[in-house]
């Protein structure tokens, strides 16, 4: 099982890269070599680490426990990828709308579920999660519910 789990799925990396490459040339006939794909995959993984570490530091500076959307936006500025911010904000809006719909449908059920899940993970609900209070839109800690069995969440 090993380290494969800590890499991004190669098929997906290939798809993202190839889709973009096909739009880069007039003939759409640019492809990517095997070592190139590996490098893309590694690069993406390292980027995740880099961005997360930066966002984490920003989060900690604000004395919060949970990395939120704003932390990521600030991290993108700090790591000098500000050009991503605007498209990401648009994506985030859509993401929030989508989840608002879900929430409206079963908000109470979801809260209960979240509480149950936290208990299973060995945390009590009222355990100093004050950071959540002021962040209405972003209080959902990712819970992997719709993951379809991809993997467990271990904390």
């Amino acid at each position: 099982m090993a380290a494969e789990a800590e890499e991004l799925p190669r098929a997906i990396v290939r798809r993202v890269v190839k889709d973009k490459l096909s739009r880069c040339s007039e003939d759409g006939d640019i492809s990517v070599s095997k070592d190139g794909l590996l490098a893309f995959s590694e690069s993406a993984r390292i980027f995740i680490h880099y961005l997360s570490a930066t966002a984490n530091d920003i989060c900690k500076e604000s004395k919060r426990q949970i990395i939120n959307a704003e932390d990521v936006f600030k991290a993108l500025e700090d790591t000098e990828f500000p050009e991503f911010i605007r498209p990401l904000k648009a994506s985030l809006e859509e993401f929030r709308k989508k989840n608002a719909g879900k929430k409206a449908a079963g908000s109470k059920g979801k809260e209960d579920e979240a509480r149950k899940k936290r208990k299973l993970e060995g945390e009590s609900p009222g355990k100093g999660e004050g950071s959540n209070k002021g962040e209405d839109a972003d209080k959902d800690e990712c819970s992997d519910k719709g993951e379809g069995g991809d993997d467990q969440m271990d904390e």
Binding site: A2, S33, I48, S52, A53, I67, A90, E135
Partner: protein, 150 residues
């Protein structure tokens, strides 16, 4: 422009959430992340991949090649300061025995002391030695590493 809008407003990321989170939390300092933040990290990574792919394709085209390879990616990384800052050292070295990169590296990285807020050097995350070539990288990727959680 239409396809950019399509990309920008994507509500799903290609990458599986669990996998992205797992990679993030390999860093023991990173423990908890909101679903929005996880979504944004995933999407950012896609955008980054697209960005890198585009830059690499430009290099390949310059060299009159139809296939983007490691060298094209390396050149693309070198040309873009923010990417070079965190990525250049971690790409597999070129296949030639001499490493011209080493000479240019000190001069090309005046920002090595740049005070990003508490950002750690990325090589802290990586325990495994630099592979000589992609084949080795593959073999090494399959050997168990300490943080393995089965």
């Amino acid at each position: 422009m239409a396809e950019e809008e399509e990309n920008a407003a994507s509500t799903v990321s290609e990458f599986p959430k669990g996998r992205v989170k797992k990679i993030m939390t390999l860093d023991k300092d990173v423990k908890r992340v909101s679903s929005e933040a996880l979504f944004l990290v995933s999407r950012s990574t896609e955008l980054f991949l697209q960005f890198l792919a585009e830059k690499s394709a430009q290099v390949a085209i310059e060299k009159k090649r139809k296939t983007v390879n490691l060298e094209h990616i390396r050149v693309a990384v070198k040309r873009h300061q923010p990417t070079r800052d965190f990525l250049l050292d971690d790409l597999p070295p070129p296949s030639q025995p001499n490493k011209p990169d080493k000479h240019t590296t000190p001069a090309a990285r005046p920002k090595s002391d740049k005070p990003l807020p508490g950002t750690r050097r990325i090589d802290q995350f990586f325990r495994k030695p630099e592979p000589e070539n992609p084949a080795q990288a593959e073999a090494q990727a399959q050997s168990p590493i300490p943080v393995d959680e089965s």
